[in-house]
């Protein structure tokens, strides 16, 4: 059984940009360990020569002409949902 320790969870939480307190990390360590334990049954299948499936319809290379299509959404409509804007731009907190 793969044990996903609190340290590992802390690392993946950081990669996922989810802040978590110690208690949450503890809980997730337990839950993800049991989820991985549950999916361990995958190992019982011989997939030596099996191709992986990432989509089911078999569609390939769906192309369209490289030109701007008729976009009816205005800048103002899009910015209306941004928590903070300034002069028609989205404002973010300081990066460094």
């Amino acid at each position: 059984m793969t044990k996903v320790s609190k340290d590992i969870v802390e690392n993946i939480a950081r990669l996922s940009r989810i802040g978590m307190d110690s208690q949450e990390l503890e809980l997730m360590s337990r839950d993800i360990t049991s989820i991985l334990d549950f999916v361990e049954t995958l190992e019982s299948v011989d997939t030596e020569s099996v191709q992986p499936t990432s989509q089911v319809t078999g569609l390939k290379d769906v192309w369209r002409e490289d030109k701007v299509n008729n976009c009816r959404i205005t800048r103002d409509e899009i910015l209306a949902n941004a928590p903070q804007t300034k002069d028609g731009y989205i404002l973010v907190k300081k990066v460094l």
């Binding site: 996903v4 590992i8 969870v9 993946i12 939480a13 950081r14 990669l15 996922s16 940009r17 989810i18 802040g19 978590m20 949450e24 809980l27 997730m28 839950d31 993800i32 049991s34 989820i35 991985l36 549950f38 999916v39 361990e40 049954t41 995958l42 190992e43 019982s44 299948v45 997939t47 099996v50 191709q51 992986p52 499936t53 990432s54 989509q55 089911v56 319809t57 569609l59 769906v62 369209r64 299509n69 009816r72 959404i73 409509e77 899009i78 209306a80 949902n81 941004a82 928590p83 903070q84 989205i90 973010v92 907190k93 300081k94 990066v95 460094l96």
Partner: protein
């Protein structure tokens, strides 16, 4: 006044066209029911009262001027809060989108708007469709209209509950691992998950893009067929949409000597006994098959879907739209505090599981392995469909469970054990009521699964079953406040 309860699309259409009831009266009937009964059912997140009455008046004016109306024109419906609706709040039942007003409308909703159907309300669901009981909604827990102590199922639990409670004639839901069929089964209504790619996902809040399907929940298979034909079609805004020849052909298929596959594990289930009896009377042949292993399908699903979720949910960053934590001091805080504060535990659990499965060193063991098992499941179905036209199973192992009964995440995941393999293969499947559980008095349902693109066949068989049985004739007058 005419009794407007339990109406199907055709019945409502005839009443409107013949002038026996006005569209305003019809819409008002549902709005009144919602106001009277939803206090306990808690299926509605946003009521579109003003806009629905406005459209109703336009439909009434058209009828009054002597014009013919389309079949869906003036038909009131609800939609899961996963569908973007321009100008109307859309939340995915998550706090992180609690204030989100979409600047555009999902293709499926646009199709229904064009056909004249009337959106009554946006309904509840598990947050971002992560769950099987609608208990994971960040806003409210929906109850099963047939018995308030039980869950309506999920994640499209608001949709199934709304149809069962007669809050509109149909509802639009989404199905990634069973999220249309399982709640339809728990609430005693009909739920259709179309073939993958048949209905555009444009404007549908993404969960797992290679699995997500849009489909209807209604009181009959006949109504789900009408809605499917209105919303299906290739969409330039979703490059994964496909056109299936089967759908463009004639609508009603001749159903003779259908070969039905049945796994011996289910022969004694109430819904299967009922199906055998009914289908053998109509001359179909039932033969023994072996379905892909349920635990294995579920395992592949719970690697692939969280992986796709972890990628799709990156977009909720507190910057471009949605909520932002007011405690954030720098950019890193903006991400991590916002996501901590406004995402629920199950959403976090899935993002973390997916991130783990995709991370360096684990990719082959989990993600790639699960993609290979997905192929094994598809091959198994292909093998089955060499000798069968359709496969039948119970939709769920048992009836709806009591609220709070599945606190353990894996126990919750297992409620989809009979539905997920269908999503791994992208197949069409319909869930129809086919019996009652003796212990709880709650419905038990039958799942009919077809080959990719055989949507019309599973619907036709479901319609045949419903023409010979009464299990789907749920009486909403039984739903009391």
């Amino acid at each position: 006044m005419i009794d407007l309860s339990n109406l199907g699309i055709h019945e409502a259409h005839d009443l409107l066209q013949n002038g026996e009831v006005t569209c305003r009266e019809l819409v008002t009937f549902y709005l009144d029911r919602i106001k009277k009964l939803d206090g306990e059912i808690k299926s509605i997140l946003t009521l579109c009262e003003e806009s629905s009455l406005e459209i109703a008046d336009k439909v009434d004016a058209k009828i009054a001027s002597g014009q013919e109306i389309g079949l869906l024109e003036g038909i009131p419906y609800t939609a899961k809060d996963m569908f973007l609706t321009k100008g109307t709040r859309t939340t995915a039942a998550s706090k992180i989108l609690g204030n989100f007003i979409p600047p555009y409308t999902a293709t499926a909703i646009s199709h229904l708007n064009k056909s004249g159907a009337i959106l009554l309300a946006k309904v509840n669901q598990d947050e971002f469709a992560h769950g099987g009981s609608t208990e994971n909604s960040a806003f409210q827990k929906t109850t099963n209209p047939l018995n308030k102590d039980f869950v309506p199922g999920g994640s499209s639990g608001g949709s199934a509950a709304a149809v069962a409670a007669d809050f509109g004639i149909f509802s639009l839901g989404t199905d990634t691992g069973g999220s249309i069929r399982q709640p339809a089964a728990y609430c005693g209504v009909t739920g259709l998950k179309p073939s993958y790619g048949l209905v555009s996902r444009y404007g549908v809040i993404a969960m797992a893009s290679s699995f997500d399907c849009v489909g209807p929940i209604a009181r009959s298979a006949r109504d789900t067929e009408i809605v499917l034909h209105a919303i299906a079609g290739v969409d330039a805004n979703d490059s994964t949409t496909v056109s299936y020849q089967q759908l463009t052909g004639k609508r009603s298929l001749e159903l003779k000597n259908i070969r039905i596959g049945l796994d011996s594990n289910f022969v004694n289930h109430t819904s299967i006994l009922e199906a055998k009896k009914t289908f053998e009377t109509s001359g179909h042949k039932i033969s023994s098959i072996e379905l892909p292993d349920g635990d294995l399908s579920l395992a592949a699903y719970y690697v692939l879907v969280p992986s796709e979720i972890s990628s799709n949910l990156e977009r909720y960053d507190g910057i471009r739209y949605g909520q932002v934590s007011d405690k954030a001091k720098d950019l890193m805080d903006t991400y991590s505090m916002t996501r901590d504060e406004f995402m629920g535990m199950e959403v976090k659990r899935r993002i973390l599981t997916g991130t783990y499965a995709l991370s360096a060193g684990y990719y082959d063991a989990y993600y790639k392995k699960a993609m290979q098992v997905r192929t094994v499941v598809i091959d198994k179905f292909n093998e089955i469909f060499k000798n069968c036209d359709v496969v039948i199973t119970p939709t769920t192992v048992g009836p709806a469970f009591r609220a709070g009964d599945k606190a353990d995440p894996i126990e919750m995941y297992k409620t989809d054990i009979l539905t997920v393999s269908v999503n791994l293969a992208g197949l069409p499947a319909v869930s129809i009521p086919a019996g009652v559980d003796a212990g709880t008095g709650l419905p038990l349902s039958l799942q009919i699964i077809g080959k990719l693109g055989d949507d019309n066949k599973v619907i036709a068989l479901a319609k045949e079953f419903q023409s010979l049985t009464n299990w789907h004739k749920l009486d909403s007058n039984e739903v009391k406040s």
